[in-house]
């Protein structure tokens, strides 16, 4: 399964090159999520991503399998980091490969929407005022809803 949970940074360029070589793909879409200083709880200096080891891998693998069922993907990769990150650090990488762009865009979008609301990760942000857990966003649940309403 092309799913990885890791504390270490990833190199988006290396991952794209590795997946694309010899794939026969006509379309490669990537999404990279990064830690922003302008966090959900205010201006932050760092964040810590807690996760549920084991379930995180299983849940992302389930999402990947669902994406492959819905779109004709030639390949697919999801990397999610955990641990302490500072603004500018990468958090998540999704890469989708397909013959045509609709499938690659659709699957990358779908994976991000579901990942946000179902992969067991939790963000705690650090700011001058202390530490605070990030609350789930209604907009993320709405985004996920898009995929089940038709």
């Amino acid at each position: 399964m092309a799913v990885r949970i890791q504390a270490e940074p990833f190199d988006t360029g290396v991952e794209i090159a590795r997946l694309t070589a010899g794939s026969g793909a006509g379309a490669v879409v990537t999404f990279t999520g990064l830690c922003r200083a302008d966090g959900e709880t205010g201006t932050i200096t760092a964040m810590t991503l807690e996760h549920f080891p084991g379930m995180a891998e299983e849940e992302l693998s389930r999402l990947e399998a669902e994406a492959r069922k819905r779109w004709p993907l030639l390949d697919c990769l999801v990397i999610h980091r955990h641990g302490r990150l500072v603004p500018g650090d990468t958090i998540v990488l999704v890469i989708t490969l397909s013959a045509h762009r609709d499938a690659a865009f659709g699957a990358a979008n779908f994976l991000m929407d579901y990942l946000k609301t179902s992969a067991p990760f939790w963000k705690k942000e650090e700011s001058a005022g202390g530490e605070q857990w990030v609350a789930a966003k209604d907009s993320d649940n709405a985004a996920r809803g898009r995929w089940t309403q038709k």
Partner: protein, 83 residues
């Protein structure tokens, strides 16, 4: 039964996991939450807004009405905020 807690559920209960012998009349996840809330202030705080807390049985998301029969591990955690 092994119980696991994550994020602020873990912080409020004060531990990441525990093994507890459950009374025989606990059938669903909702029953388990109701029973845990009788075990002390820390559980009451964690499950104060119990509809917010999510559950997973053996690493798969479940709803409050899910039957816990056969489960080897039940986890409780806030709504996910990854990605």
């Amino acid at each position: 039964m092994k119980l696991r807690y994550f994020a602020w559920v873990r912080e409020r209960i004060g531990r990441a996991e525990e093994d507890i012998a459950l009374p025989a009349d606990i059938v669903t996840v909702a029953d388990l939450v109701a029973w845990l809330k009788t075990r002390g202030e820390e559980y009451e705080a964690a499950f104060q807004h119990e509809k917010i807390v999510r559950a997973a049985i053996d690493r798969a998301h479940v709803k409050p009405e899910a039957n816990i029969a056969g489960a080897s591990e039940i986890a409780f955690f806030p709504p996910m905020t990854g990605g």
